[in-house]
Structures are given as C-alpha cells and as structure tokens.
Symmetry: D2
Subunit: 345 residues, 4 copies
C-alpha cells in the first residue's frame, strides 16, 4: 500500500483527491492536511464522507508527513513553495497541483506569475505531469508539476494536429468554458449562487496564466514557438471544461482525415476517447471521470479545423490526473482507482 498525504485536503481539488484515494485499492490516506479545518474530521467538513472516512484533518506536520511515500500538495500558491523542498528532503515523492513546477523555464514562470521563482533548481528536476505526453519521465520523477485544468484539456486537444504538421501554428485560438469548481472553494461575489447561475462571462482575456503553460507544450508539438489566444469563460455548472480550438490547416483535409490523426495519436491511451467524425464531446460524458473526450470538425470552406475537447476539471484537470501520475510513479497500472464511468446524471 502506498502511504499518501494530501496537503490542502479541504479545498475542491483536495477533497476530490480524498474521494479518489479513499476508493483506491493500492493507496491509503495517512495525512489530511488542512489549515482551516485542523482538528475537525474530514467527514464533518464534507459530510458525504461519513461512514467512509472519518479521519481528522491536521496542520501540515512534516514529521508526520515523513512516514508517507507521496504527498499531494493542493495548497494556496506560495504555501507550496515552503513545504515542497522539505518533503523531498524527507524522501517523499511530491505531486504538486499548483503552477510552480510546470515550467521548463523559470523566466516564463516569472513573466506570467509576476514574481521570482523560489526554487529554480527544483524546476529543472520536476516533470510536467501530463501523463499522455510525458509518461516515461513521470516514471522516474521525484517531483511532478501536475498540469492545470484548462491546460490539460487544451493541450491534449491541440497537440496531435500541431505535431502532425498539418495544423498551422499561427492563429491558434482556444476558447474554453469552465464550471465553477475551477475557481475553488474560496468565497467571492462572482461565485455567489445568485451571481453565477443563469450567467456566462469571459474573464482574464489574454492574461490568464494557463496561456503560458499551453504555449509551452504546443511549442513542443509544433517544433517552434507557438503563441495562442486563450479565452477562459465561467459557465453555470459545477464540473467540466469544454475547449473549442481553432487551427488553420496547412493542406486541404477532411473531418475524417483529421479525426484519424487523433485516433492514431491516442490509440494506446485509455483515458483519451476520440469521437468518430460527426460526433462531439459534451461535459456530461466526462463528469466525475478521468477521461478526455475529443472531437474534430473541419470547415472545408475555410480549411480550418475546429477541435472540441472536454474533461472534468477537478478529475483529469486536477485530482484524477494526480492519481494517474502516482500510479505511474509507483509502477501500478495507470488506471488503478480511476476506471469508473463518471456519473452523466
């Protein structure tokens, strides 16, 4: 059994980790770290866990954590930085859900996050935990920068087409729609039920930090620098991201041909489901599961592909992918504890 610690267990990504790990046949939850709820049972904070997991939350205690094999850090930005080096020193593997260890270059991080990176030496070692692209590196890793939600959805949606050379790296546009769990459990007027329901809006156009993460990976795909328009939207649902991605084509192609490129690229991936031509993803198909659904439509008038990808933002976009990374790091079948069908309804 893998002994796990979840630091930041009572936020939305944290509790989803707890949900998945409490069902995982090869993992056990040793430590639930929560500053706000230390001393309370997790089943009091999220009463869905009553009779299932009645463990007490505690302050993040590094000596207690030292008994674990792996720590998931789902801490507020900044809190992660001080804790992660200590965890690594104590011999744990760390899967970090913040943005701190997702970058090839500290400079890009600093430009988009507007502050100095606190441990650039770890950045060199850390592996970007997008399993479908970096599985081999994840196997060896001690520190994972677990990808963001918008980024997982958008990168997996655009990657094969740019990689193939048929997608043009100019004019790539990603228009993404996210459910409200993506904003976390913190209070804010924008997340008040009455302000959120029956409302859709765009936000942080051209400035959202995930832009840089998507560009980093799509540049790897295209073999040259890619810059994209990325527009996040908030939609009135809890879970789910849908990315609609526009990519011009370098040579005339059909929906069927581009679909085939995706089917080939992902043919061995359990968690990626490429839709047949004529069929498109919907967020309810992935809700509660670790799947990424992708559909393609070519507008032959314009020779432009429209790729639609969908994930559950707190599963494949956060907690599920983190567990998938753990499975890979510990030599388990990648699907362990993640093989359910989601809930649709």
């Amino acid at each position: 059994m893998i002994k796990t610690a979840v630091l930041g267990a009572t936020g939305y990504a944290g509790i989803e980790l707890v949900r998945l790990l409490s069902n995982h046949p090869e993992a056990e939850l040793e430590l639930l770290g929560s500053k706000s709820y230390a001393g309370q049972k997790i089943s009091e904070v999220y009463q869905s866990f009553e009779h299932i997991l009645e463990k007490e939350c505690s302050e993040v205690d590094l000596n207690k954590a030292a008994k674990c094999d792996v720590a998931f850090t789902a801490l507020p930005h900044g809190a992660s930085k001080s804790v992660i080096p200590s965890l690594l020193e104590r011999g744990l593997k760390v899967i970090d859900l913040s943005g701190d260890y997702r970058y090839d270059s500290a400079e890009v991080y600093e430009r988009w996050y507007g502050e100095k990176h606190s441990s650039p030496e770890l950045l060199e070692e850390s592996v970007y935990g997008l399993c479908e692209l970096y599985r081999d590196k994840v196997k060896q890793a001690r520190l994972i920068g677990n990808p963001g939600c918008y980024t997982t959805c958008s990168i997996l949606g655009a990657y094969p087409l740019l990689k193939s050379g048929i997608g043009n790296a100019e004019n790539v546009i990603v228009d993404a729609k996210s459910g409200v769990t993506g904003a976390g459990r913190g209070l804010g007027l924008a997340y008040h039920f009455c302000e959120c329901t029956e409302n859709t809006k765009a936000y942080k156009i051209a400035t959202h930090r995930h832009t840089s993460e998507i560009e980093q990976e799509l540049s790897h795909a295209a073999g040259k620098d890619v810059m994209i328009s990325f527009t996040p939207h908030l939609i009135p649902q809890k879970r789910g991201i849908l990315s609609t991605i526009y990519i011009n084509l370098n040579k005339p192609s059909t929906t069927e041909e581009i679909t085939q490129i995706y089917k080939d690229f992902y043919k061995d991936e359990f968690f990626v489901r490429v839709k047949d031509a004529g069929n498109l993803p919907e967020t309810k198909h992935v809700a509660g599961s670790n799947f990424v659904d992708i559909g393609v439509c070519v507008d032959e008038r314009l020779q432009r592909a429209v790729v639609v990808s969908a994930i559950d933002n707190i599963v494949k976009g956060a907690a599920g992918q983190a567990v998938q990374n753990m499975n890979i790091m510990f030599g388990l079948d990648e699907k362990t504890g993640l093989k359910n069908a989601g809930f649709y309804l």
Copy 2:
C-alpha cells in the same frame, strides 16, 4: 461472478444500475435489454461508458436472459408484468423496480394503481426490498419488489419514531422534494430545461401512488393503520430527495432523546447515517451514494418532531438499493460495490 441482466437498461434507473454493476467486483453484465436502443452500444446511448462498457443493447430475449442468475427489471409499468413470471420460471431471481410487487395486498395495489393486479399469487411470495427492515426475508427471496424513491426516503425517516411508540400515528405529514431524474428520461413539457430550471412546484397532492407504500410500512411500524399526507414536489436539480416529516409526540421529548432513538434503531446500518442533534441532512451529502441521511429536530413548544431524511433517488431510491438487495440475496457483503463516498460536488 453473478451473471446479471438489466431489462430497461437505458432509462435513468437502468443506466444507474449499469453504472453500479460495471463497477461491482462480483457481478458481470450479461444482458442489457432496451426496446428503444436495441442494436446500439450502451456507450453510444450514454457516452460516459465509452472505453468502460461497450456492450450492445438488445431486445429482451428470455432465452438469453435464462443464462443469468438475476434480472433487474426497470421496465415501463405493465411491461414488467409479462416478463417477470417467465424469468422466474427460467430460474432467475428477479429484482423489480416497478410498483407491482411492493404490496402486501393486491387490493391496496388495485385501489392506488387503478387496475387489476396481473399476478396476485406472486405478490404473496415477493419480498419488499427495503433492506434495513426486511433483510432476513430478502436473503430467502426469489422476487423482490424494490421500493420507490420517495418511499425509501420517507419510510426510513419515519419508521423508528412510530415504532418506538413516542411518535403519534395521527397527523403524520410527509412533505417531499425530488430532483428531476425521478421523472425518468421520457419527454414531457414539464421536464423541458426551460420549464424546470428556476422552478419549484407540488404535484399529485393526496393521490401519489407512493402514499400507499409509505402507509403500508408505517402501519407495520405503528402496529395499527396509519394514514398520512404525502406531498411530492419537483425541484430544479437532477438527483436527490429530501423528505421533511412531521410527527406529533406522545410524550414530552427533546431533540437529543429522539435523535438517540434513531441512533439506536440504525446502530448496525452502514447505509443509514443519523446526524447529531443540531445537524441536518442535505441532498449533496448523499448524491451518487447509497446512503440515507436522517436528522431530527423537536419543536418543544409544540411537542412535534420534524424529521428530515435525504437520499439519492436513483441510488438508494432505485439502482443502489437494487444492488444492495442483490448482494443480500447472493450472500455477499451488503456493501459490495456500494462503498463509495458519493460526489458532493
């Protein structure tokens, strides 16, 4: 492995059965019966199942069904009747999700359903599958009348207090609120998104068929005939029933005392969670799980208990309870395949 057939697999109760059984370590899905979608894969009808369960739906073929150990019948009213006797003859156990086999007396059935019962002889044999009350009979049963959603929630909420003799059997009122999955997947103007969202209404006051089922069981609890007011409401959410139950008290009592009666009554029940005094159930605590949450508040001014109970209507109120019945009938641990925490978010 238990070989299972789900007849009516593409309705909402049916697909929830498929979701639970596809995750069940001791069951396998042999037959997915669906009149409307015969010939299509279940993963085409509910795309959440792609890569998980790609089995084809078929017409209900009794010879194919004969290879199974148990059939779940989630068929439209009437369709069940013609199929169930044949299944029993072929040696299957049957767990029926319709109202047909839930009654002690054909007469009560006929009064509330307005038609002749087609197989009153089976009614004598069938067991009412409310596991927490009839576990011993379920163990021996060949045919289960799986309880309705409103009824499971309301009976388990009211039973201990009436059984104790402290709850007065007169003036019992059950005011229940249900999510829209309870109405099934059939089309109807009342279930159009735009007519349903931002709307709450009561319906079928004093005439809903579940009234009779609740009365039957509460009469057993009280040891005399109980008649109740039962008012169902439709609320704008997918899953969840909340029953608010008003029962006058025969002797002065406190919230703590009545809570203790419930804690004692359900002390060995994994799927019933009695809240401490001062805490009340919410439907999100049970969503996606087989739990029943119950909370009690005594209004000492009036010497009246208000009991609040919550379930997920398509899990504990349909598919989950059906699986729980199967587990009991086949000698498995009752919790097998049902031990998850729900999804809260």
Copy 3:
C-alpha cells in the same frame, strides 16, 4: 412625483426596489444609500442599469434624505433602528424592510430576535404592511413594517381558511421552500454556487424568526392563539418561495368548497390569483411579479387541506410589496408600476 430614497440600495431587496422604482411612472429615485458602494454609480454595481439609471450611490445622509417623501430602508438589522426615527422626524414616511416594525408586541419581537427593541413606542404606531389584510391602516400610516418573504407567502396562503372557521388552528404546518436571493448578497459558504446548486436542505427548524410573524397574523385570523410548525428550505434557484401548508378541517369539505372560500376572500385582490380546483401554483408563474398564487387540494381521506402558495420572494416578498405599500400610502392606484406579467422564462 413621489421623491423616494432607497437606503441599502445595493443589496438584493434594495436593487429590486431600484428596478421597480426606476420603472414607476409616479416615483423618482432621489437617493440611493449604500455604505459599501458609496461614490460608485448604481450602474457600475449592477450593470443591468447602464443607460437606464446611472445615479451615484452615497452614504446615508439624513439631510439629503430630508428632501424625499418616502424612504425605503433595506438596511442590515440594527442599522435600521438608528436611522428610522430620524427619518420620521424629518417628515418622511418610512417603509422598513427589516423585522423591527412588524410586531404588535415588543415582547414577541424580543423573544424571537433575542434583543431589546430599541423603539417600542414606534412599534405601537407602525402598521404591518401586508396590503391585502391591512390596506386601510396602510393608507394612514407613517411607518410600515414591510412583511417578510416567507411570511407574506404563508400568511396569505393560510389566512382565509383559518378565518372561515373551517380550518382547525391546531396542527397547522407550513413547509416552505425558498430561492437563494432570500439569503441576500452577503458571502457565505452555504451560498457558494458549488455548494448550492444541485442541493436542497432544511434549516433553522422551529427557530426561524418568521415563525413568530406568521403566528401573529394567523392568530388574528383564527381569533385565538395559533402556533405552527414552520420549516424553511433552501432550493437551488434564485427567486421564488413555495409554501405548502397543511390544515386540518373542522367539517368535511371538498377541494371545490375550500377553493371557493379562497376565491371569495380574495375576489377583489388584483395581486392574489386563486387557482381553480385541480390546478396548483409554480414559482415560475410568479417570478419577477408581485403576484401571490394560491391553490388548494383537500385530502378527503384525512379531511385535511393542503394549500400551496407561491410568490417571488424579492418582489411580493420584499420590494414589490414595499412599492404596493407606497402606492397605497400616497393615494395611487395600488397596481401602479407593478402591473407586469413576470418573466416565466
């Protein structure tokens, strides 16, 4: 033109007042008081008002208010108390949306609110602004205690039956469901979109302050002390309250007979719509309007009436009723500015 001040203009009741008054042909908005947003235009705080009303919000300035004919006070509890006597001294009429001036007796107030009433002498003068019951007193009033949302819905639903003597004053139960605007614009985890959507819960059972207000008025109706069970619930929609009211009958009656009692009682009321037997209210029928819809169903087995009443909690339950009171106080047609059909969709 009536010069109006709205104090507390940026809360949900306040902004609904602004919406109604900005459309009112005989009123003008002189002063928008808002502590939190003083110095900002109302059209910046609620951008729906851009091009319609671009007035600046200001601190509550009593000298500025002195130019007005009437003030609507939608202030946090306590803030009202200090301001209202000063407004009256300056010659304004005051319509207060807090609970402070709704009671016949300071003692009842103090028991349910847990604090001393600050101006019991005003309580003697103030009129309970439930227009359909106290229209004549409202005409003469200087100070209105504008009724609460749950109370308006529940009192108007129960009053005729208790008044008629056919409804029994024992065992009256009011089970009420409210949309989230009822909780106001303040932040709280319970009102976070992700905690609220897909969730229903009961709260403050047997202790909600509106209980006392309902009891006061139903006691007037019955001609003797009435005590009720009142259970508020939070449901996942913005607007709307549905009260389901259970009243035992003193003599055998039918749905048609009891419906007729309601039709007679409200025959001259524009804002009350009594449904024909067999038809029941839904919150979408009243959303955005000042109507109260009432439907009755008698359970003849039990000789118990179930009355269902529905309002928009921030219109007839707050701002709309306040405008209706203003219309009456200033000798206008009561319907002025309130004669629209709501929005259904």
Copy 4:
C-alpha cells in the same frame, strides 16, 4: 394604438412578444395565433399572464388578422411562407421572426436552408431588421426579416471593427454560447432538464444557418466577402447569448483604441452599451432587456482583438428587436415599451 397580431404566440419567442406588447403603451394585442393551443386562454398556457392578459388563442384566421396594423410571425419554418404574402395583401405590415426574409440573395438562402425560396420577389422588398444598421430602411419597410439571435449578437459585436478597416477580414472566428430558450419549446432529449443541466456542448459546427446571415452582414461591413468560423454552444441557462469574437488587427492597436472605435460607432445607440476598457459583458447584465453589451480586449502580443458581445436571445435576439422594429416602422420612439433594466437576478 397599434393593433397587433402575434402568430405563433405560444412558442418562446411568441410569448416574449406577448410579454413585451402587453406592457407596450402604444400597442394592443388583437390576435394571438396558436395552432396547438387554439381555444385556450394565453393565461392558461403561460399562467404568469393570469390577471394581466386573459385573451384566448385562436387558429390563424387571416380575416381576423386583417383588422390589425402589424403581424409578428413566429411560426415554424414553412408555415410563415404561406401566411406572409396573404397578410401583406390585406395591408398589414409584417415582422417575420423566421429566417425566410433575412437575405439579400435567394441563392444564399437556398444553399444554407437546402430548399427553394418560396417568394423571392418578397425577398427583394424585405428589409433586414437589424435596427442599429438599417434603421432608415426599416422606417419605410412593409416586410421585415427580423434577425436571428446568434446573428444579432455576433454582427453587432464584429461590425465596427471590420467597418473601420482595422479589423482583418480573414480569420474571423465567432465562438458563441447560447441559453436553452434558443432551442424553443419543442420537446427533444437534448433539452430534457437532466440532459441539459450541468452540461455544455458545441453543435452544428461549420453548418449552422446563422453563419450565412453573419457573413452577409460582415461582408457589408468589410466591403468584401467575409467567411467566418461560427461555433454555437449550448450552455445550462435559460436566457442569454455570449459571442466571443476573434479578429486580427491590420495595424498595432490597444484595447483603448479599439474600444474607442466601438464607442464612436454606437454613440447614438440607446440599446448598445460599449464597456470601458477592462470591463466585459456578462449575460446577466442583459437578461430580460433589449440591450447589447460589448467589450473589447486587444491581445497586444498577437495583435488580435477579442470582442465579447452579449444579448438576451429572446429579447434583442427575437421579440425585443421585433418590437424595436415595430416602433421604428410606426414612427414611435424606438425605446417605447423597451426601456426597462432587465432583471439581473
């Protein structure tokens, strides 16, 4: 008073017309045509109208219609065609909410609608009723092709930038999100509450008919043929469209500069609200009103403008714009009956 007929009064666009016209000081509703509900009162079909408008719906009777000054035709595609020439012959003005009379060219219509146009001679006469662009022609018109919902939102969002010459006519992308009222009141599994809520999806990529309407108008703006990517999405809310529009810039510009172009272009338009730089539209700001809100953000890295526009799809995108057209055709102040603030909550 203008005598009006609404043909197709019980669909969602129709009932919104009824809502607006029942509040319009210069119009009266003479005829409510409804095939499905002929003989029933409109207040029975939409109970929000009880006490407001209790008129009976009737079959479309051209002789009765002949007494009217104007007919709004909100009929199913095809039904319009047979009726409109007859109405014009009888001397009525006609405002048609179908797609039939929105095109400059029958050929474009036939390509996108896949059928012969039944009255190409009327197409020559008809005026495209996008008031902000064609006000002068609307004044003289006898027959209006009232614009579609996606198109109103998208055209008004993109027009000024293409017209200015700074927006590049290549690579224009419109990613639009619509509430479910846009799909109408007809039943369909996709609009079942349980299939719709908590779900977002794209549909009809590259083939939606509104594409052709947007292209027609943006070609006028650019002074040359424009072809666009248009992707409609269904989001879980009733009302509202948000269009996110991507346009490359022909010369380096800032958010402030492009915003100014929009402010100048729409400086005399009451119903268009251009947001200051840094502020963006949300659908709740326009819900229930005839406003179009537009915000601009320039991504200076890419020299690409992202324009966000929002409308209420059944007001400015259907019924409200139709009333605005009527006001113009009959020489009224364009704002008559449309000057309210929407409902935000």
